[in-house]
């Protein structure tokens, strides 16, 4: 069993790593990582904008985004992917590459989920911080940028991380619209071997686990660093912060 997996890995590692490239489109793990990184990098700022729109006093901003969030939350991701894949070319007549379709859908979907996390972080801070910022003469956006968001995002690191990890896992759904990612490559391997699906998909699972775990690990370190900084390096409280497990570790793994 282990030998089978090592053999599969030795024979197909390049396909799993970069897909058909350079003879075909870039695929495999490389494409999964690129798709994940782009989705997260775009969904995160989008989610902050959506959260600000959701708590805005202007209805023109608040209502459309609220509708978008509710619709997105109420529809399976797979359905959204199929819609974008079949409807966008029909409506616009443009030939959109499946990678772009997948990326856009993921950004909107995860952006909507993340925006609720960010909004909760902002709301849970209470009025005191915004009052203090206003009283000192800060503009609304200045207060958000320098006072509210740094705290809200820090408090929400576990939930934000959770969404990042699920974004990475959701890239696998690109399989249904032929995005040449890691899952697609594994399925090609499986189609060639035919007799070893368990081994092939176990390799796939291990790789995804390793990626998601590293993200958790990194966020965990980041959170500890901030906690230590805020407790002031050295002194009793810093020691306390070090002894206390970061909240991510227990919640995510």
């Amino acid at each position: 069993m282990i030998h089978d997996m090592i053999a599969i890995f030795q024979d197909y590692w390049l396909l799993l790593l970069i897909g058909q490239y350079p003879n075909g489109p870039l695929g495999g793990l490389a494409n999964t990582l690129i798709l994940s990184a782009l989705s997260i990098a775009l969904a995160f700022p989008v989610s902050i904008l959506m959260a600000l729109a959701r708590i805005s006093k202007w209805r023109l901003l608040r209502w459309p985004v609220t509708v978008l969030v509710y619709v997105t939350r109420g529809v399976p991701l797979l359905m959204l992917i199929l819609w974008s894949y079949f409807l966008v070319p029909l409506v616009t007549g443009a030939d959109v590459p499946s990678f772009v379709t997948m990326l856009t859908t993921l950004v909107i979907y995860q952006g909507a989920f993340l925006s609720e996390v960010v909004r909760a972080g902002i709301v849970s801070l209470g009025h005191g911080q915004m009052d203090a910022a206003k009283a000192l003469g800060h503009s609304y956006l200045g207060a958000m940028r320098y006072i509210i968001l740094p705290q809200a995002l820090y408090n929400m690191i576990p939930s934000i991380l959770s969404t990042f990890v699920s974004t990475i896992k959701d890239t696998t759904l690109g399989y249904v619209i032929n995005v040449p990612d890691l899952t697609f490559a594994a399925s090609q391997v499986n189609n060639q071997l035919l007799t070893q699906p368990f081994q092939v998909f176990l390799i796939l699972a291990i790789i995804y686990y390793a990626i998601c775990w590293s993200i958790t690990f990194l966020a965990n370190r980041l959170e500890r660093r901030i906690t230590r900084k805020r407790a002031g390096l050295g002194g009793g409280r810093a020691a306390e912060a070090l002894a206390m497990p970061a909240k991510i570790a227990s919640e995510q793994l």
Binding site: L136, Q151, A231
Partner: protein
């Protein structure tokens, strides 16, 4: 930092006919009052009387339903661009009951950040100024601590330094010692007393009657949304005129 509109005007804050309702409940009823430049006014009264609401309307953290509040000759409740409102607010210092320090910033950053971001003061100048102000409130050694490491009294002194960093001509205090342990009240009041001694215009909502007696030029007694009595501390404590104020003082003595 004197007013642009009328620097000669002896009135720092003029509250005219201010009313405010929450739904059907009227919190402030046709309030008329003035704070002169350099004057220290203590606002007292039973809880729920509208003291905090009144002081929060002065820098427009609360909106009012009618009337006007003039600060340096400008009505802070007039329709205006938010940038104009921010500019006015930056010149009114405000100290909260619950301190509201920024927990993600060190003490010196708490004090220097607003001059940098709001007034465009160069960072090194704001930093030096912040250290001076921290020294003045007796916390120079805590400059690089974080708010979470300080006691309540220390946090409130940082909050006062943070407000002073904007060089406001007027300081408002909203029950600055009510959230403190009794042994920490004194250190905050000492800072406020030294400010008053330097001629700062101050409006303080507080239950510290000792402070009112020693420092205030005038006391406003407020109940059920109305200012019932305006008097000097001597008059107010020895010979309160309004029956409600007499009852309030009698209750305090128990």
């Amino acid at each position: 930092m004197t007013g642009t509109a009328s620097p000669q005007d002896p009135t720092a804050i003029r509250i005219s006919n201010v009313s405010k309702t929450y739904g059907t409940y009227q919190v402030l009823k046709e309030i008329d009052a003035e704070v002169a430049r350099g004057e220290v006014v203590v606002v007292c009264g039973p809880s729920g009387s509208g003291k905090s609401t009144l002081i929060r309307t002065i820098n427009r953290l609360e909106e009012i339903n009618s009337g006007s509040i003039l600060f340096d000759g400008q009505n802070i409740h007039a329709p205006m661009k938010t940038s104009a409102l921010n500019q006015l607010r930056s010149r009114i210092g405000f100290v909260f009951q619950s301190f509201n320090l920024f927990p993600h910033l060190s003490v010196v950053e708490n004090v220097s950040m607003s001059p940098i971001r709001v007034k465009g003061v160069p960072a090194h100048k704001a930093h030096d100024k912040a250290l001076l102000l921290l020294d003045r409130v007796g916390l120079a050694d805590k400059a690089f601590s974080y708010p979470g490491q300080l006691s309540g009294g220390q946090q409130q002194r940082v909050a006062i330094a943070r407000a002073l960093a904007m060089e406001p001509p007027v300081m408002l205090f909203d029950e600055p010692t009510s959230a403190l342990d009794p042994e920490m009240v004194g250190e905050v009041l000492a800072v406020m007393k030294s400010l008053a001694a330097e001629g700062m215009t101050m409006l303080c909502v507080t239950h510290e009657m000792g402070f009112a007696r020693d420092v205030a030029d005038r006391i406003w007694f407020i109940d059920a949304g109305r200012i019932l009595e305006m008097a000097t501390p001597e008059e107010f404590f020895s010979n309160p005129k309004h029956p409600r104020a007499q009852r309030f003082l009698a209750d305090l003595r128990h």
